[in-house]
């Protein structure tokens, strides 16, 4: 915002108009106004540079010069206290100025975090003044310390109540605001009177403050607020008051109060609905121009929830609001867009027209304002582009990145460019035009790959890959990707390798070209685990096409001990196995070395896999061949990161944080996390994760076959997850191979395999090796006589059904040991720990700091089960527990047991 104003200020020789002169004179005016402040010159940094402070305070007032300023802060505070006390009763001329100085000092100490609560009573004594600035400072001080010193706060009530009756509306308002902001629960009785009269005050300034004051009171003591019938008063005021700001504040307060109240009171729920009734909505819409831009946002948000009765009404409303799209405040524009989009959701044609209409204002908003503002708008644009890429396909140039834009802006633009390009390209292909739009975008993306900015280059490669994976004609794009490999930049190579791997999985027909190029890459130049794993996968998969494959693998195995990533070692095992099955004589030695190193590996998974391969080979080579090297099927669809339900939910929450985080609000606001929707959503996840579990034997075989593929997917998920601002609960996905969605199955599959008794012996045995504790009786003595079945089993469907039917018998937030939280770094740790106490995990998910687990347990003798939802916030060390039980009478005992088990969870 600054540059244009400055440029205007810079005199232009071609027009030395009066403009310049006027500007400076205005500047002078401003300075004059400020002069007083500056002259007072209490220097804020006094506490840091003491010498200066002495000098500066000299000129303003001699009494201020404090010879002991250099002593410790306690001394300073007590000194202040003394001076304030001396001044308290003084009505001498000029005493206000001195007071101001002292007050400023107190406030500045308060700001930098020095405790000045000891001067409370002196401050209150000094507050008997007519100086409004002094009063404000005093209010500020009181507001800051009252909460922690409720006794002292009582002292202030008196003068605040007196000020609430002052003849100056300004002071009445300020006092009322401070009174409501004290936030001390046992003082609420003193609030009701002043608030009541504040709402009826003649001055609208006081009424605006009183309207918010009611909300503050509600947060301190809901019952007092409701008992005093303030909501009804607010409603009356909202519909009758002439002042727009009063009306707006009434609306915000009422919205908040009623939605909080709605969960307990039916009347409040009705009232909340009444806010969305036709007369109320029309009342606001007809006056909307009178409101401030911020209030307009509130009103438009309200309107977006309104359901018009017919299409005529919709058109009337849209016509009325259309000019809001030209508002200078981006928030108003976005709010209007939300209204338009939501209103026309059921009218497909109109909905599309709305998109066309809002395009221009959105694009303007993106290109104006600070990067942060345009980021907020871009996030919304991003959402819309993802919903309807074809509408924006002609605007692809707007998504070109500027060199100096911040990364967060570029990243969103890239994603949009990707999705837009792909859509229009398919269109272009149908039209058989020589040069497709997509390749223009790809060319543009290739520019970014050469970018110095490494994250940017990576993102761009991913974008190119995404376009390739989504299109039918990938010819040119694959060429591009292969060119990236020839750029010989480490990060470019690394990122491209991962992509080439994904490409090969989808388009095996490209293997010849790719392998030729990949074969030339020296594995020494690839350091990143993901890229290395991708390279190794290709070496194993295309062993017969790559001449050197066995030897490269061999040299990699020689450096087994230096390989830090377990993922790479896992891939290495599989690759060498594949290679062996295709070219036995050349690989035999490498395989032996790999299996030996693998079995000796300290990492559990690597160890297990090596052992598994070893026994598989012992058992029957043809079976090994079938399992490790089955005929490959091309992957047609990669797991989508978000399901449609979640996308729709985000769209419902348009113009809020959800859009920026790209996840619905229940996933990041703790308060709403327990809402009914969150709950059903979680169960939705469960039901999907349950499917592979039903066919666990078959699935596992496939999974073992395709383990590398699965890992590949999980990498992809991870990288996308982090790319999408880390979507906490990675959405359920259904892989075509029948394998489960990785994050969930990490835990649940292991778990279920122990629950499942039937199945392939070898696999079961092997997996059983990994978790000896599972079948042993619980080692720790339980705090109560409640005995749990160590071999409890419950299939996910039954869990889901029970969870839905049973009431919550126990719900509490508890704290856990930070050490335990630290152990959360490995997500499997907690389920394993719980399982050793016969509490089984059925599903889990999440990313730091929020983790969510569903556990179940069964009584030893009977089949009565306990279901637990456990949400762990690792940053606050808080756990939210919800327990449901078949047998209510023992739920208390179980919850105690659960908590005691949980509290024992620390670092292994």
């Amino acid at each position: 915002m600054a540059p244009p104003a400055q440029s205007q200020r810079s005199p232009s020789p071609s027009q030395p108009s009066g403009c310049v002169g006027m500007l400076t004179s205005e500047g002078d005016l401003g300075c004059g106004e400020m002069a007083k402040l500056v002259n007072c010159s209490f220097v804020f940094s006094a506490t840091q540079t003491l010498g200066n402070a002495d000098k500066n305070s000299d000129d303003s007032n001699s009494r201020n010069t404090n010879p002991h300023f250099g002593s410790n802060r306690k001394g300073e505070v007590s000194d202040l206290k003394m001076q304030l006390r001396q001044l308290a009763g003084s009505r001498a001329p000029g005493s206000d100025d001195t007071k101001r100085e002292l007050f400023k000092k107190v406030i500045s100490y308060m700001t930098i975090g020095i405790d000045v609560s000891s001067v409370f009573s002196e401050m209150v004594m000094c507050s008997a003044t007519s100086d409004i600035v002094l009063k404000k400072m005093c209010y500020l001080y009181v507001g800051n310390y009252a909460k922690h010193n409720p006794d002292l706060a009582l002292l202030t009530i008196n003068f605040l109540q007196r000020d609430c009756k002052d003849e100056d509306p300004m002071i009445r308002g300020l006092a009322l605001r401070s009174l409501c902001s004290l936030g001390v629960a046992n003082l609420v009785e003193y609030l009701v009177g002043p608030l009541g009269s504040g709402l009826k005050d003649g001055s609208s300034y006081v009424r605006t403050i009183a309207a918010v004051g009611v909300l503050k009171l509600y947060h301190i003591s809901a019952s007092t607020c409701v008992d005093a019938d303030f909501p009804a008063l607010l409603k009356h005021l909202m519909l009758k008051d002439k002042d727009a700001q009063v009306v707006a504040n009434c609306l915000t307060s009422l919205q908040e109060i009623w939605s909080l109240e709605a969960s307990t009171s039916e009347e409040a729920a009705r009232e909340r609905e009444a806010l969305l009734s036709k007369p109320v909505i029309y009342y606001f819409l007809n006056r909307i121009r009178e409101f401030s831009e911020w209030a307009q946002c509130t009103i438009l948000d309200l309107v977006s929830k309104y359901v018009p009765s017919d299409s005529d009404e919709i058109f009337d409303m849209m016509n009325l609001l259309e000019d809001r799209l030209q508002h200078a405040n981006g928030a108003v524009v976005l709010a209007t867009i939300k209204v338009f989009l939501h209103m026309t959701l059921s009218m497909t044609d109109v909905h599309q027209q709305v998109y066309e209409r809002i395009k221009a204002p959105l694009l303007t908003l993106v290109s104006s304002g600070s990067p942060e503002q345009s980021y907020a708008v871009l996030s919304h644009l991003h959402l819309l582009v993802m919903r309807a890429p074809f509408i924006f396909s002609s605007d692809y140039k707007h998504f070109y990145c500027q060199y100096n834009e911040p990364f967060y802006v570029k990243k969103l633009k890239l994603e949009m460019l990707t999705s837009v390009a792909n859509e229009s390209n398919t269109y272009e292909i149908v039209q058989l035009r020589p040069k497709s739009l997509g390749s223009i975008s790809v060319t543009e993306l290739c520019e970014y790959v050469a970018n110095v900015d490494i994250p940017m280059a990576r993102e761009s490669i991913r974008a190119v890959g995404k376009i390739a994976l989504q299109q039918y004609d990938v010819n040119a794009i694959v060429d591009r990707l292969l060119q990236f490999l020839e750029m010989e930049k480490e990060h470019v190579t690394a990122e491209t390798l991962v992509l080439v791997k994904d490409l090969l999985r989808k388009y095996p027909q490209w293997s010849q070209d790719c392998i030729a190029v990949v074969g030339n890459i020296s594995s020494k130049n690839v350091q990143e685990p993901k890229a290395k794993a991708a390279l190794i996968w290709m070496l194993g998969e295309y062993a017969q096409d790559m001449q050197d494959s066995p030897y490269i693998l061999e040299s990699l195995i020689e450096n087994w001990d230096e390989e830090n990533s377990a993922e790479v070692r896992l891939h290495l095992l599989t690759a060498v196995m594949k290679c062996f099955l295709r070219r036995p004589p050349e690989t035999q030695k490498a395989l032996g070395a790999a299996l030996a190193a693998g079995v000796a590996d300290f990492h559990q998974d690597v160890h297990d896999r090596a052992l598994f391969y070893y026994r598989l080979l012992q058992y029957e080579v043809s079976v090994a061949e079938r399992i490790v090297n089955p005929p490959k099927q091309a992957v047609s669809v990669f797991a989508d990161t978000q399901n449609n339900e979640i996308k729709d939910r985000i769209f419902d929450e348009f113009n809020s944080l959800s859009v920026v985080y790209q996840k619905p609000s229940y996933m990041f606001t703790d308060k709403e996390h327990q809402g009914p929707f969150a709950f059903s959503e979680e169960l939705g996840n469960l039901s999907i994760s349950a499917e592979p579990a039903d066919s666990v034997v078959a699935a596992q075989r496939v999974e073992e076959n395709d383990q590398d593929l699965l890992l590949g997917t999980s990498e992809k998920e991870e990288s996308q997850g982090s790319g999408n601002n880390g979507s906490a609960y990675s959405a359920p996905s259904y892989n075509t191979t029948g394998a489960a969605q990785p994050q969930l199955d990490l835990v649940s599959l292991d778990q279920l395999s122990t629950v499942h008794t039937s199945g392939s012996l070898a696999i079961d045995e092997l997996l059983g090796l990994g978790m000896p504790a599972a079948t042993e009786p619980s080692p720790a003595p339980l705090p109560s006589d409640l005995k749990l079945n160590a071999k409890a089993s419950l299939d996910p469907k039954a869990f889901q059904q029970k969870w839905r039917q049973l009431p919550v018998s126990f719900s509490q937030e508890i704290s856990i040991d930070p050490e335990g939280v630290a152990a959360m770094a490995t997500p499997q740790a907690l389920p394993q720990h719980m399982q050793s106490h016969s509490i089984n995990c059925i599903a889990s998910g999440g990313q730091a700091p929020n983790f969510k687990f569903f556990f179940f347990a069964q009584k030893a003798e009977e089949s009565s089960s306990y279901l637990v939802e456990c949400i762990i916030n690792s940053s606050s060390c808080k756990v939210q527990l919800k327990i449901k039980a078949d047998d209510q009478s023992t739920s208390q005992a179980f919850s105690e047991m659960f908590q005691s088990v949980l509290s024992k969870f620390t670092l292994p």
């Binding site: 020789p13 401003g30 500045s108 918010v212 700001q245 504040n249 946002c297 200078a328 303007t364 911040p406």
Partner: protein
């Protein structure tokens, strides 16, 4: 729920709290520590202006050497929050009379506390208009001006009640000389490929006004935009005068503009606020006159030498001048020695930004100065790392020129006392992000 901010913090670059204001109790007092730990002291800083830590979301913005952080615990409206910060800073600036930085905050912290109290209550934005706030937030220390006349209410929208619709203007303003200053400021954004084709080009323009007018004047602004002209010729049933008409992609107006009238009659009519304000913003993508063409040729001669030739062509009228032209031509990091020949201005090598910086203070229209430079590079061991050429960037200001071709056709002032006004109109075109790939 527009914002419902729980707290707002002003931090300096080291992370010290300059000022904080807690509006709600739902976040802990140590939120700022979380911000420091998780954002300021990590690489996170600058990667994303919205972050979630624990259950709270942090919106932050850097303005000069100050971080402004808004903490929310609910699913807040992001656009609104950032707009609020921007508006608040504009308000502070108008109070301080200029810069907004750490020193200004330290010197005016009491005033800022006062303002923070007024502009947001319990996390909801209230009134941020400097015009109105200045009526009752002063540092004069006397009782508010209203106390002498209790009939007057110190309400943000006091005038609204009296006048019906004009919340942004006080009544009873008197100026000896009635003047209006109107500036059209355009920034041209360009992205040109190395082959000289325009990849992306648009103009974002602003109409800035400064009014010193008595009473309650009604203003009407006429531009040579297509829709407005068509509408006018329709109304007056006479054909449009010949001349260039401009198609505006999108327009936004200051709240004072009567949008209903704009939509029906396509005229911009308004009662202006007093002093300086931004009347309208617009965006144009079609028919942009680029003021400069840049033709670079960069040759890498072997591993240690480069030849850079850049020709810059000014394509605006010969009688006009561009001012403060700066052309930044990137060179590799390992540049050792440079030598230049320029036909105009001065050039030097700036190692801190790895650029050859060519400055031309006054650049007449229809000329084409050139720069030819030889760059010697230190030969390094990592020869494989080829140099990725960042784009050439350009800064300039061209007074009395609009890249869009937009012109003010008339500015009418009507006030009931019928005084005469003096109108001043200026045009200026600046470089937004003017990039040429090479």
């Amino acid at each position: 729920m527009p914002v419902a901010a729980s707290a707002i913090y002003f931090l300096n670059l080291r992370g010290d709290v300059l000022i904080n204001r807690l509006y709600r109790d739902d976040v802990g007092g140590n939120m700022v520590d979380a911000f420091r730990m998780h954002i300021m002291q990590t690489k996170e800083l600058g990667t994303c202006p919205v972050r979630q830590i624990g259950g709270c979301s942090f919106f932050y913005m850097r303005i000069s050497n100050v971080y402004i952080v808004i903490v929310v615990s609910s699913n807040a409206n992001v656009a609104c929050a950032f707009k609020f910060v921007v508006e608040a800073v504009a308000l502070f600036k108008s109070y301080f009379g200029g810069a907004f930085d750490e020193d200004a905050i330290r010197n005016n912290f009491v005033l800022i506390y006062e303002l923070l109290d007024e502009i947001m209550d319990f996390g909801y934005p209230q009134n941020l208009s400097p015009e109105i706030l200045k009526l009752y937030i002063t540092q004069e220390g006397v009782r508010s001006p209203f106390s002498s006349k209790p009939a007057d209410k110190p309400v943000p929208n006091a005038t609204l009640q009296v006048t019906g619709a004009v919340g942004w203007r006080r009544e009873g303003l008197v100026y000896k000389k009635n003047e209006v200053f109107l500036d059209i400021v355009e920034s041209v954004n360009l992205l040109m490929s190395s082959k000289g084709s325009v990849l992306r080009c648009d103009v974002t323009g602003k109409v800035l006004m400064k009014c010193f007018l008595s009473g309650m004047p009604d203003l009407k602004l006429g531009l040579n935009d297509k829709i407005g002209l068509e509408k006018e010729s329709q109304l007056k049933s006479r054909p449009t005068k010949s001349g260039k008409t401009i198609e505006l992609d999108d327009v936004t107006f200051h709240q004072c503009v009567n949008l209903t009238r704009f939509n029906s009659e396509k005229t911009v009519s308004f009662v202006p606020p007093d002093g300086e304000f931004e009347l309208m913003k617009y965006r144009i993508t079609e028919g942009v006159n680029l003021p400069f063409r840049v033709l670079p040729t960069i040759k890498e001669l072997g591993r240690t030498r480069m030849e850079v030739n850049v020709k810059v062509k000014s394509v605006f009228g010969a009688k006009m001048f561009a001012l403060g032209v700066v052309i930044k031509i990137p060179v590799p990091k390992q540049t050792a020695k440079t030598s230049f020949q320029v036909t105009s201005g001065k050039a030097k090598y700036n190692p801190s930004i790895d650029c050859l910086v060519w400055k031309i203070r006054k650049f007449p229209g229809q000329t084409e100065p050139t720069l030819s430079a030889e760059v010697e590079l230190i030969s390094t061991m990592t020869e494989k790392k080829s140099w990725t050429r960042p784009p050439i960037q350009m800064e300039f200001q061209v007074p009395m020129f609009t890249a869009s071709g937009l012109r003010v056709r008339f500015l009418k002032v009507w006030e009931k006392s019928g005084y005469n006004t003096v109108e001043w109109v200026r045009y200026i075109t600046k470089a937004g992000s003017y990039e040429i790939r090479c």
